[in-house]
Symmetry: D2
Subunit: 290 residues, 4 copies
């Protein structure tokens, strides 16, 4: 949308049981307070009977000050309709931590987007279980924390990671080919706020070494999947997927090389959608507004 970078808009994300009059109630609320709607998108899951909505409006002539919007909406609309809702402002600047291991392609891409002001986001810390990518972090002047992870020290390592995330007041954790499985405890600290990139078209080839498995099966298309992390491995809500054509000429190494570009672009699209507040989760699925 043309106006999503506008500093003076508010974004409301809503979901609730489907019922008559929902859109009318929300838009009448905004209209009554002088809000000019920039973008409205809604979805009804007819099978589950759930209503989803994202609405964005200009703040410049909106009658309510920012800090009163939530209370007013809760009292007048969300309460009576029993809605779940979140309110964001377009000039919020989320704090995004990156976890990585040894592969640099996603890390470089994410940092280039942040550095070039393509994304309105801060990266306060990069955490890795290997020291290899310290020089990349240093190039972008971002603190790099090496937290080794082994079979024996996993709980302590995760505790250290959580302390770092809390210390840096992190809102969002991006796993940029971070090759470790996170515990349910860790995941529970950042529900729907840890984004992973899996190097296959899930649910095909979940688990380790998916390019080897894809080559073995002789597929003609490879894929990458970005999803929120949940306790069940590679089974969280999918945000974005894409694919590339391959042929019999492509070795495993060729799949790995082409897969890097896929992983990079799929992860960055998923993070971008999240940063724009366009993703809603429910029932292990996502609504990703356009």
């Amino acid at each position: 949308m043309s106006n999503t970078h506008d500093d003076q808009s508010a974004i409301l994300l809503v979901h609730c049981r489907d019922q008559r009059g929902l859109i009318s109630a929300v838009t009448e609320f905004l209209s009554r307070h002088g809000g000019n709607i920039i973008d409205l998108d809604q979805h009804v899951d007819a099978i589950r009977g759930i209503f989803f909505m994202r609405v964005e409006w200009h703040l410049d002539r909106f009658a309510l000050p920012r800090h009163e919007i939530g209370d007013a909406f809760a009292a007048e609309i969300a309460g009576p309709f029993d809605m779940h809702w979140r309110l964001h402002f377009s000039d919020d600047r989320p704090r995004m931590a990156i976890l990585c291991s040894r592969l640099s392609h996603c890390l470089f891409d994410l940092l280039a987007r942040c550095q070039s002001a393509e994304w309105n986001v801060d990266v306060p810390v990069i955490i890795s279980n290997h020291p290899d990518l310290r020089s990349v972090a240093e190039r972008f002047n971002i603190p790099f924390e090496h937290v080794p992870v082994s079979a024996g020290n996993k709980p302590e390592a995760e505790q250290r990671q959580l302390e770092l995330l809390e210390h840096h007041a992190v809102d969002l954790v991006v796993l940029a080919r971070y090759m470790q499985i996170l515990s349910p405890t860790f995941i529970g600290h950042y529900p729907e706020r840890i984004i992973n990139i899996h190097h296959s078209f899930l649910p095909a080839f979940a688990g380790a070494r998916p390019y080897h498995a894809a080559h073995e099966r002789g597929v003609k298309v490879i894929g990458a999947t970005s999803h929120y992390v949940t306790p069940e491995l590679d089974a969280g809500p999918i945000i974005e997927q894409d694919v590339a054509r391959v042929t019999h000429k492509d070795s495993v190494q060729d799949l790995v090389r082409q897969g890097r570009d896929l992983e990079t672009v799929v992860l960055s699209r998923a993070v971008w959608k999240h940063l724009q507040r366009k993703v809603l989760c429910y029932d292990n699925r996502t609504v990703v507004f356009g």
Copy 2:
């Protein structure tokens, strides 16, 4: 959307000058009369200051009978806001004529979709400037009219075509690789209701023999474009485009062969969007709702 085939829904298409309270007014109108919204999509062209909306709602508990909806909407909403609007019902069954020449691939595809009940549409007549495809029409039991067109008889031929379209009460004209240029007079009878398929990625390679031109230029991607026909050749509002990768190995004949599949699918997607009442035109552009 899951409910577009429901027999009992109404669809309202609206556009007007952008202003506050538009969505609220429309949805409040529907809510007040007991309409449950199935799907709502809107768009604001911020540069031109135009608002577009498509809303679809269930009729089963809607308080207004079908024949009163338009008048009520005009009086209560469209008038005060100076809206352009159209009202459709999901069980309308449009009448679609097909014009073709000698190539059968789009014709076969369109007829298969109508015949298999994939589309809720009637095809009362097929008109061609060549007799070659008569047997295809006969296979599908559809009247075939051969109207030869030459440099000398164009006005008379178009007059005959228009009589046939009027006789068959046609709502929509699909040019399925019909290789003749239509006059502004003809086009004026069916504004925004003639859909063409051009065998290139417009605006590249407008005009005749686009595959030859694409081959000559050495492109690595070929395309097809479906658009509403306007008096300026190949310059009408684009509804749908898609592309396919090609290589140096592909001859002109190979491009033609691969292009056929592209043309077929791009045309059918455009017609499908039109039949679903998801396309709005303005300023030689389209809004195509998702």
Copy 3:
């Protein structure tokens, strides 16, 4: 390639253990007899140490008559190098049977391609376990055989199908959304000559109801896979795959609708490659030359 429709070319498909001098030996053989190579493609599976080659050459000034080529090649080249090989001529006209059930989209598409002379192939018989598509077959003047299949009569039904295939001297069997599982016995009669379309991106969602499974998982991309049939269900060598993007707005029925177009195009591309003699199988994988 520009010349694949030439009536006067020969095609040699070869595979054997990789070793020095293979290409040189084959091309020297052709050159020595006056063959002008139109197209040569080769592939080495470095891990398995297997060499694959497809070479096509003009027959017009080739010194050997057609019926002597095979013997000469066997004696001079294939024998010494211990090659597997097949010889085809571009004006061969394969006989292709189609098996279907109730869904017409792939059947319509295949018949339109055969009827319009896009493909140089005969369809001597259409066999179905349901009578629904008889009218489609009749439109194209092709014999339609209804062979009901039930839990109790499977061996007899397959026996009847095999008799029909033999009676019609069929070279290739295409399963155009034929919804029955074939027995290993049946498959053994047509090794690497039965092509199926599976309505998912294999190996994701093998088995029944893949669109339901894809919707349940919340994928953002759906796929279709065409493969040779082997005794293990949905696990044969993949010839072609492709995908389409979907969103949270798409219901299961929408996936089915979009999937139809995918299935149609993926199956037709796979059959086209087979008909061009561009597919080689080994080790449950395919080499598909460009």
Copy 4:
């Protein structure tokens, strides 16, 4: 191919008038000297009557030392057949200069690929007509030369650029969104060795501000094109193109944002193909081997 990174292979690129026995002659030459072919690809432009070939073979048991291969091939094969040819070794490490202006996305991507050893290439110098990207160059420890270009100083600026390229012994020049038009004189120093990225699907929207033009036309697909630079603006041989779908919701700024990812990936694929010695030019077109 699996073996393109092997340090011990040679690559021969050939084109000449099409005639009988070409493949046989080349492969017999390699076979006779003990070369094991890793990859062979050929193409015949049937209309122009030109033959193209790329062949790669292992050097480890090849009888000729590297410095004698060219002379032997010229004497035995290239001379008699009147071939144009080039010989490369897979462990050559080309020297690639990057020219840029103010946009960083392609520059970051190219440098990340070089830095991460994905590409076997040196970047001895980055030249820009603006100082903005000096910090990016410094992050990667690459000399940055600011050569301002104005309407009045173009010849002097190009002279300075040429001196820098010569001083750094550059083999290949990549224009990473370098926004200046190069003179025919400049281009003449690096024929088929200057690669540009144009931010549209050429030939549509050549020239300046293509995203504005694409938005104005209302296209549903945008593209990017990488090509060798020739004196005619945006008309050189196309190496690679790709596209992305857009909708009415996308503003010009949205097209620019999505276009950045396209430009990045299309330019990097083109450079990769060039570095692999897989591109041959003729008649303002390319052969790009797979």
